[in-house]
């Protein structure tokens, strides 16, 4: 019974594919899985836009959208209709072909990232041996679409936004890769299903997720920072910083193409959160051993939505960094921390069990964090101030 | 035609295109693009020979390709750095005009 619930999507797929003649079955299996991903995640995106707007509203003591449908749940439908019926404006001097291709390239590359994410037990489209490498290869090519969008618009704000975006994404991709490498070192595999399997066992009812180790926690924090930057979310949303650059690289996009960019950004957020979940939060494994009867896909998507909520929370709280500070932070704080974390992960691997490795690894990381943080604050000349009064 | 011959022909074509680009374009960056294409054509040869060679498990061709990719990345970085430095100095990337070693 629980087994069926866990595997319901897999069984459903097999049943659907089984209806077809034998020769078509391998192709049909892929098509069904791809169709499921292509339908499900945009729906999740639609839901998330309401979720985000309502969440931001609550953080700001507002109600948020509540006029379209019950509790505003139909808001994305209204938004979708609006963006579909809007005029598609292409600037006269824009590079038409590139301008047209950019959103498509973004959405396609982002969708490809979902192929290797294990969304539940046996629920992965392509269980590749080098899944993580595939993910990063695909992730690296999204930068190109951003550049295409900004460059082809022939708008100064767009170009500045695109250059910022590309520079930022390249810088933080290094951190993203390095923080994931620690996981690869410990689990000994680039395959995401194997990484989840490595975390899916329990002692005293608690799971062996990588986040519950010193190097895992540090890696997760660095991964989260890099993720926020990689998806251009606040506080790293400079490429589209509306107060400076109007809308950055999608300033000159309207209608459906703009909606595609919007979709691409959120999909990137989902896939990268899904990867973070897989790497550090145990993927689809349950948080307690007595909860393993709950379907695995439920855990995966709850963890995903938790990450999305953190994104929204951060967006509702933090102001935006400046370009040079962002770069400094990437290269002078996040990167050294990631490299050190690799070292600590190696130590962890070879120190064997026992409390000693906990103490030593934690101590190294905390000391490094405090030291680097202090150095960062000193370099930026920031600190609390006191003020004097004239009577 | 065997598959290997097909891959080799594609590689030869790409190599020739890259060579033609490198030899005929005026823009220094496009010359670099041509060189990258040639390198990639060579990589394709390595991979194809590895795949259809007698000992794929020895990984020789694959390793060569991987190292070649790494070296090409270094080459691109240094090459483009040089182009930028030259551009700063001479304000052009036109190779017909950059014809002196002395600035």
């Amino acid at each position: 019974m629980f087994e069926t619930a866990d595997q319901i999507f897999v069984l459903l797929k097999h049943w659907l594919v089984g209806l077809l003649p034998m020769a078509l079955q391998p192709v049909a299996g892929v098509v069904v899985s791809v169709a499921a991903i292509v339908c499900f995640f945009p729906a999740l995106f639609a839901l998330t836009t309401v979720f985000e707007r309502k969440g931001l509203g609550r953080i700001q003591n507002r109600i948020g959208p509540n006029r379209t449908g019950p509790f505003g749940i139909l808001q994305p439908v209204a938004d979708g209709i609006k963006s579909l019926t809007k005029e598609d404006i292409v600037p006269l001097s824009a590079d038409g072909a590139v301008h047209f291709l950019a959103p498509l390239v973004l959405v396609v590359t982002v969708f490809m990232g979902f192929a290797v994410l294990p969304m539940g037990r046996n629920m992965v489209l392509a269980d590749m041996d080098a899944g993580l490498l595939f993910y990063f290869a695909i992730g690296a090519s999204t930068e190109l679409s951003v550049f295409m969008a900004g460059w082809s618009s022939r708008n100064k704000y767009s170009l500045m936004g695109a250059m910022r975006a590309v520079a930022q994404m390249i810088s933080y991709e290094v951190a993203l890769l390095l923080s994931s490498v620690a996981v690869v070192m410990i689990s000994g595999s680039l395959s995401l299903t194997k990484i989840v399997e490595a975390q899916n066992h329990y002692s005293y009812g608690l799971p062996h997720w990588y986040i519950f180790t010193p190097w895992g926690l540090a890696g997760f924090v660095m991964y989260a920072i890099a993720t926020t930057a990689e998806t251009n979310r606040s506080p790293f949303d400079l490429p589209e910083g509306e107060s400076e650059l109007v809308a950055g690289y999608h300033t000159e996009y309207s209608g459906f193409k703009f909606a595609l960019f919007f979709l691409g950004e959120y999909l990137a957020m989902f896939s990268i959160s899904g990867l973070g979940t897989t790497l550090f939060l145990g993927g689809w494994s349950a948080p307690f051993s007595f909860l393993t009867w709950v379907p695995s896909w439920f855990w995966f998507f709850s963890k995903l939505m938790m990450s999305i909520f953190v994104f929204i929370w951060l967006r509702g709280t933090l102001p935006r960094l400046r370009q040079d500070q962002l770069m400094n932070f990437a290269w002078k704080f996040v990167l050294p921390m990631c490299l050190l974390n690799l070292l600590v992960a190696g130590l962890w691997r070879f120190m064997g069990d026992g409390w000693l490795r906990w103490v030593i690894c934690s101590a190294i990381l905390v000391a490094a964090y405090v030291g680097l943080g202090w150095e960062e604050m000193r370099r930026m000349h920031i600190g609390a101030r006191s003020y004097r009064y004239a009577e | 035609m065997t598959p290997l011959a097909g891959y080799l022909l594609v590689a030869a074509l790409l190599f020739a295109i890259g060579l033609a680009g490198a030899l005929t374009r005026r823009n220094a960056i496009l010359v670099l693009i041509g060189i990258e294409l040639m390198l990639n054509a060579a990589n394709l040869n390595f991979i194809a020979f590895w795949r259809y060679g007698p000992h794929p498990e020895a990984l020789t061709g694959m390793m060569f390709a991987i190292f070649s990719i790494a070296v090409a990345a270094a080459e691109a970085a240094v090459g483009l750095g040089l182009v930028i430095a030259i551009h700063r100095h001479t304000h052009t990337t036109d190779l017909d005009q950059i014809n002196r070693m002395k600035g």
Binding site: L56, I59, Q60, N61, R62, K156, Y157, M160, S234, P235, D237, L238, G241, E242, S243, E244, V246, R315, G316, T317, L318, P319, R320, L321, R322, Q323, D324, Q325, M377, M380, H381, I382, G383, A384, R385, Y387, R388, Y389, A390, E391 | R88, H91
Partner: protein
Amino acid sequence: MSALESSSAIKTEKLEGWNRPPVIEPDGEGELMEVAMGPHHPSTHGVFRMDLALDGERVIRLKPVFGYLHRNHEKLGEGQSYLASMPFTDRLDYICSLTNNWAYALAVEKLIGQAVPERAEYLRVILGELTRVQNHASSIGFLIQEMGASGTPLMYAFREREKILDLFEGLTGSRMMCNYMRFGGCRVDASAAWLDAVRKVVAGLPGFVDEFERFLTSNEILMARCQGVGILRPELAVNAGVTGPMLRASGVNYDIRKVDHYGIYDRFKFRVPLGDHWDVYDRYMIRILEMRESIGIVEQALKDIPGGPVMDQKAKIRGLRPKPGEAYGRIEAPKGELGFYLQSDGSPNPYRYRVRPPSLINLTILEDMCLGQNVADVVLIFGSVDIVLGEVDR
């Protein structure tokens, strides 16, 4: 510097360092990028344009272009009676209409030699300081909004501002366009219930300021963005005529409430916070500290507000014909020195009517603060000036 410390002895002639803004040389090769920021730009607070010349993202030149919102306020004032100008002053700086009313009323009272009853003075102080609180709250909200904070600080600021606007509405009948003060007092008296409502709101304000400070003051991103950015040297500030929180953030002790002794400010105890680093963060913090001081003033005023009329019985509102002469009334408006200059030739209309708008004069120094900064800092520095374009363009 020490000469600048004592407010009464600002000596402008001896100051050094005032010449043309330092010309920044582009350090890269290649030509500059010209960007027109505005008039349709999300963070220019209305219709305002900055013509920027950028080297990469560094500002090399900045030319502010004013006047998109020109409404001919001064010439209108010369064409109509003294009373009819009063509602128009609301629309200058539409965030703080009450202080605009006050400054104008003060100018006319000086022109005709009109005394103001005690209770009206207290009401003016209460309303003026509440205006300052809500102006500073929304201005730092906008400032952080321009830093990209998705509107949360702004919403918190507006949540508190709404409470103060409710008070204004309860007394004057309108939330923003108060049109409340008259020559010789105030239009209507405040009921005891209204004063109680003020007490309740004022009791809640320190909590709001604390929340705001916990929320953002020690935020590393805010500090990184604001500290050391947009430095305005005190000499330059004094010479450019900058006033208000901008000037005090530049470390100059100059508060018209203390200097000019207008109204009844001598009776209240309050301090003037000063900045030592002259940057955007100082401007942010000075506003927060001034909010705290203002809350203190309102509390004191509420404690000993006397009874009595709010309007001088002999005061004439309609058909005012001042004797020929001139007067300049100025107050410490939330944005700086707001002054009205009136010249009468004995007719029912002023012969000359001139506003000294703090927003405009504080904005003239924008280029000097922005040169050499990042383009992202321009909006920040612009926000830290705290302008309302209705007042800039008049």
